[in-house]
Symmetry: C2
Subunit: 210 residues, 2 copies
Amino acid sequence: MILYGYALSSASYRVRIALALKGLPVTSVPLDLRAGEQKLERFLQINSQGLVPAMALDDGTVLTQSVAIIEYLDEINPDPPLLPRAPSQRARVRALAQAIICDVHPLNNLRVLQYLEKDLRQDKAARDAWYAHWVQLGFEALERRLVGDSATGRYCHGDAPTVADVCLVPQVFNARRFAVDLQAYPRIVGIDAACRELPEFQGAAPDRQV
Amino acid sequence: MILYGYALSSASYRVRIALALKGLPVTSVPLDLRAGEQKLERFLQINSQGLVPAMALDDGTVLTQSVAIIEYLDEINPDPPLLPRAPSQRARVRALAQAIICDVHPLNNLRVLQYLEKDLRQDKAARDAWYAHWVQLGFEALERRLVGDSATGRYCHGDAPTVADVCLVPQVFNARRFAVDLQAYPRIVGIDAACRELPEFQGAAPDRQV
């Protein structure tokens, strides 16, 4: 399998963690998003959306969208599971993941920050405020949900990492990179720390990519 | 089951379609998002994220996030399936859905448009341009992918509706509401029309909600 990604891309980071938790080997092909490499025709032929991550299977099939890729990995290689067994618990974990991948991350993507800067002529302070606003709104709700539910354990769901943790850790990393104050979210911070004790999360971190 | 939703919310619309395709009865509780009803304490106790949709099961469990709810419905009630069987095809359908629910819809939500207006003081023209920009970027890529792949059929994947169609139709509805020109996306427009020939999609439409 070939993973087209970018060290600092949250979505690529998620897939790297999932691959490591599954113990699956992959060939990494890094793209330089800041230089716009993902918009070059040779990559658009791999992923017409011009986004990373994209994963090419050995038969040439190309999968896109981080969580679709992660659920695929979980289906072809169920051990260790990244989703619980019971449908309502699976729904809980997927909802925690979607609260990050739909409600926080899309608003703080590089392409969105670039639109704010170039098209809407927003200065750095306004862009930082925008970034912090969506993280805080999302994390407030997530913290409330994690604290208020006995299904939360050492990780987002019980005592083994799930797709929710796989999405949480890159978002926390990103929030720190933008200097968002995380003091109000002790449970999120604690789960992030617990995850990062695991070698699979450590090896997937942006600063560990070459 | 009780579905907390809002007629014009794309995410609620998705769940309504899925419930109809599954033939599952539900009690609808509409919230007035423009009046901020989703931020009232009595709703926050149901969904701490203060977002619709939320679905209360008969045992009191509350599920959130539209696609997590839809995958739950598909797991407890597998017929008709909203995902294909083979893992790589499931990944394709989930990726098409995520290209909408992660890359288009979150940027054009009511709360984002309100932030542009109130916090960034962007006028209607700038907000409309923002809205159209993300729809066009997302639809361009989606169109390219649908056209270029023989797995596309009458619907996004083959000849039965899947979760990808369930996400596509509300997004097309929304794009039309904001007068985005869809001429460049004939395959998307065709799939949307095919879906809306089905009574399940018709009954879930915003103008059919009371």
